[in-house]
């Protein structure tokens, strides 16, 4: 069964460092998303991406965050200067069409900022 894959599964970084989280969405999907989940809390939307541009973003997704689809398969989330409060599980997700379809989530990248 096709799945969304994410790397790394776990990353520890120093505060202020840049981090890139990588995702390979399901191959025929057109909509891509990043969500995050701080330990013990609910899942929060960060950004949605379609047709090579951001279609919606949350208040969390400030200037420190960016997304890119550098080639036909990868979808990345960059955090320019990490803060302690960025420590969370980051989930990539994809769907074939934007609404009313199952959104498939990857296994997550656990980011620890120290």
């Amino acid at each position: 069964e096709p799945e969304v894959t994410q790397t790394p599964s776990h990353q520890v970084t120093q505060m202020g460092q840049e981090v890139i989280l990588r995702c390979v969405p399901i191959s025929n999907h057109l909509y891509f998303y990043w969500y995050r989940q701080i330990l013990g809390q609910k899942v929060e939307f960060l950004v949605s991406f379609y047709n090579n541009e951001i279609s919606e973003k949350s208040e969390i997704f400030d200037d420190q965050f960016s997304v890119e689809r550098p080639d036909g398969s990868n979808f990345t989330l960059k955090i320019r200067s990490t803060k302690l409060e960025d420590s969370a599980m980051y989930f990539c997700a994809s769907s074939r069409v934007g609404t009313g379809n199952t959104i498939y989530f990857g296994e997550g990248s656990w980011l620890t900022v120290v």
Binding site: K42, G98, G100, I103, F105
Partner: protein, 109 residues
């Protein structure tokens, strides 16, 4: 502010019993999703409910949607230990899902 509220937040139940998790939301939407999450794992899609009155069943789980009441339910029938997990409802709003806080379900034998 859009709110998606689940209750209960924690549910401990005996094997073989039935129970319902409730998901209330504060705005008009026709689409509601249920996900399961095991500890340290990703979100597994359970149901996508696309219209008022939608009912879907898979095994011991049944989900329904009442858009007029802005309420979705996830009913568990004859619970088994393998159903222990955290269950999230998520409302589709624009190009995103807005998640509830999750219900931690523990099924005791």
């Amino acid at each position: 502010e859009l709110k998606v509220e689940q209750n209960p937040l924690f549910l401990s139940m005996q094997e073989g019993k039935n129970y319902t998790i409730y998901c209330n939301y504060s705005t008009t939407s026709d689409r509601l999703y249920w996900y399961r999450q095991d500890p340290g794992k990703s979100l597994e899609s359970l149901f996508v409910l696309l219209s008022n009155g939608a009912v879907k069943q898979e095994g011991r789980l049944m989900a329904s949607l009442d858009t007029k009441a802005r309420l979705s339910t996830l009913h568990i029938t004859a619970a088994v230990h393998d159903l222990s997990a955290t269950y999230f409802c998520a409302l589709e709003y624009g190009n995103k899902l807005v998640f509830g806080a999750g219900t931690i379900l523990r099924v005791k034998s």
